[in-house]
Structure formats: C-alpha cells, structure tokens
Symmetry: C2
Subunit: 215 residues, 2 copies
C-alpha cells in the first residue's frame, strides 16, 4: 500500500518526540488521512494495536518498516549526473530511509572522476559490473528523455528490477520489472488545471456540440 511510507515517516517523528503510544486518530490527523482507512491499512499487516489504548509507536514503526522492506539497506545506482542527478546524489534523506547510493554513472566523459557527494562519477559502461558486484536491484534514471529507454534496457539486462524514472518518457520494460515515474511538469500542469478552474467559475458549461448533420 502506497500510504505505508507516510505512516512510517509520521511515526518516526513521534519517536523523535519521545511519544510512546498513539491512537489511529492521532496518526490520521498527522498524516492527513481518514482514521478508518488508516486502521484498515494497519490491520492489513496484522493486529498491532491495543483497543482502548492505541498503537505502540516503536513497535508499529518497526512492523511497517519490515513490511515495506526498509529494515535492510537497499543499494541504488543513479544514472545521469546532471542537474537533477547531482541533487539526488547529495540528498541525505535517501540514506536515512534505508537506501544507499552505491554508484553514480554518466555517459559524458567530462563528468567522470568528478566527485559528487563523496562518490566519483563513473562511466555508464560500468553499470553491469556494479550491479553485479553490489547486488543492486533499484536504479534511478536522471538522464535526458531520449536516453531513458536505452538506460532502462541496460539496467534491466544488468539485473535491475525496479526503476525510478525522472525522464518524461513512458518506459517499456519486461514483466516483473517495476517502474515508477516522477514527472514534475505533470505535477505543475495538474496544479495549473485546478488553478484555471478556480479562476473561471463558469467551468465547463456543456462544450456544446457545434455541428449538426443537415439532411
């Protein structure tokens, strides 16, 4: 379920505040979801709450982390160390949430050996070697759109089975490989859509059909 990471983050905040237990109502308001939905989500992983009391924050946190699979560290490779790739490489939030960037790859020779976030940028052709050596199963694509499909194919061939794609392209991958895409332009366009609706209260009054067949 896609909401588990949100609960996990909220629980981490509660742990840091030294809060030992919380009700579904508390967690629900903290994460912005309906409390019934939250309880149903949690009950899906088992009965980890106590009626009349709530949930043990630490215990629930561990259970969710275990369910998601972030009790272990996942090695990750990032391909395309441009504007976005640099930002990602420097992002500390990955590390603290169970992901370890093991390599930065780029096709452009002028980027090689450059140090980014304590890692050197390596040639894209080292992909297979690195994936095999570090048992990498998750790859991040931050290359231009035209290169994304090629990079994805190489990743899949090398053994990567999950891809996070920042390039604005639809990737085609074989069965068994998961792709998630993050497209910032789309996010902005969705905002613009709602924004336009706010400005024009007359909304879509029946886009009336303009043509009638004449007999």
């Amino acid at each position: 379920m896609a909401r588990l990471p949100i609960y996990l983050r909220a629980l981490t905040v509660l742990v840091e505040r030294g809060i030992g237990t919380c009700s579904s109502e508390d967690l629900a308001t903290a994460t912005g979801v309906n409390s019934a939905k939250l309880r149903k989500d949690l009950s899906y992983l088992g009965s980890y709450g106590t009626r009349g009391v709530g949930y043990d924050v630490d215990y629930l946190r561990y259970q969710i982390a275990r369910e998601i699979g972030v009790t272990q560290d996942w090695p990750v490779v990032i391909v395309g160390i441009g504007n976005l790739g640099n930002a990602l490489a420097n992002y500390s939030g990955f590390r603290s949430r169970g992901f370890r960037v093991v390599a930065l790859l780029d096709a452009a020779p002028e980027r090689h050996d450059e140090a980014v976030a304590g890692l050197e940028v390596r040639p894209f052709d080292d992909l297979e070697e690195i994936v095999a050596a570090e048992s990498v199963s998750i790859g991040v694509i931050a290359t231009p759109a035209v290169a994304a499909q090629d990079v994805a194919d190489r990743m899949v061939a090398a053994g990567v089975t999950s891809i996070l794609n920042f390039a604005p392209t639809v990737l085609s991958v074989p069965e068994g490989v998961d792709v998630r895409k993050v497209d910032l332009s789309i996010e902005l366009q969705i905002l613009a859509y709602h924004e336009q609706r706010k400005a024009a209260p007359d909304a879509d009054l029946g886009h009336a059909t303009d043509q009638e067949v004449i007999a």
Copy 2:
C-alpha cells in the same frame, strides 16, 4: 483528470514527427493506458474525434492544452535554492511546458545575488512583493522539511493558491489552496516494497502493476 498531461506530451511527440491524425489505439499504446479509458477521458472534454478516422493531432493537442490551462504561461516562484532548488531552476522542461520561473527565493543571505539559471537569488522576504507584482499563483517549496510549513503559510498569505511541495512534510493549508507533494523517498520505498515481495514468493503474488507498451 491527471492523465491529460500525459496525452499532451504524447501528442507533442506526434506533432514533432509530423503525424497529422492518430487513433485512440495509437495514443493508448504510446501512453500506456487502456484505449477505452483514453476515449472516455477525451470525450469528457468534448467530441474532438472523427469516427472511422481518429483524432486530429494538432487540434486535439490544442484542446487538451486549453483544458489544462497551459496555453498561457504560468508564473512560478521557487523557494529554497539548495541542491534541489538549483536543479529545478535549471530545468528547461518547465518553460517549454507553459511555466515561467519568475523568482528564486532563499532565506540564507550567503545565497543572495548568486546567479542561478540567469536569475538572481533573492531574499525570502521579497516573496510578497514578487507574488503581487507578477500575479504568481503557483509556488514550489524546496526547503528543508522544518521550514516547509512556514514557507507555505507565507505563500498562502501572499496570495499563492497552488503549491508543489518537495519537502517530506504534510502541509496544512486553508480551503481553496491546492498542494501536491513529490516525495522521492516514498517512491523508492514503494519500489523496495515490491522488490521485497519479488524476493519472497510466499507473499501474495499477483497484481502486476506495470506499464507495458511499445515505444
């Protein structure tokens, strides 16, 4: 509808290739959605297709752009010019899709007057002035999580009614203000979740959620 931007992008590609008309089947495979769903989406904006022929690429593209509201340029401010803010400021894809970054704001004085992507980084306190002067209604938050809520409050007070939030926090905003969040850690965690399921075949198999399409 959240799929319109995807159709728009696919149509833009078709335009660039000089293709004049396309069927719902074509667009569906190009975007990775079901053709019936796509037709239903398009029919929601009106009857812009011709039975037996398909859709006029240029015309449909314009209609979708108009529906989304990207026939005009939307001014955007970015707050928090760190790793991520820099990448966003340098991203050309916003401009080409109907968004214009009008200002880069940061609270840290040492960043001020620095030039990023042809714009100078200005003090966060200039927010209200800029929003008013440029009629900005869309703001992007790329600050650390602790500052995000404050920034959002200031944005809302200044007149921003749509926020794209990259900080891993749940923002609370008044009615009428739209917030979309992009949380990269969550995306990775969802991948890790599926990845773990692949490795452990005892879990509930099934639900193959991937996009399979030919490019």
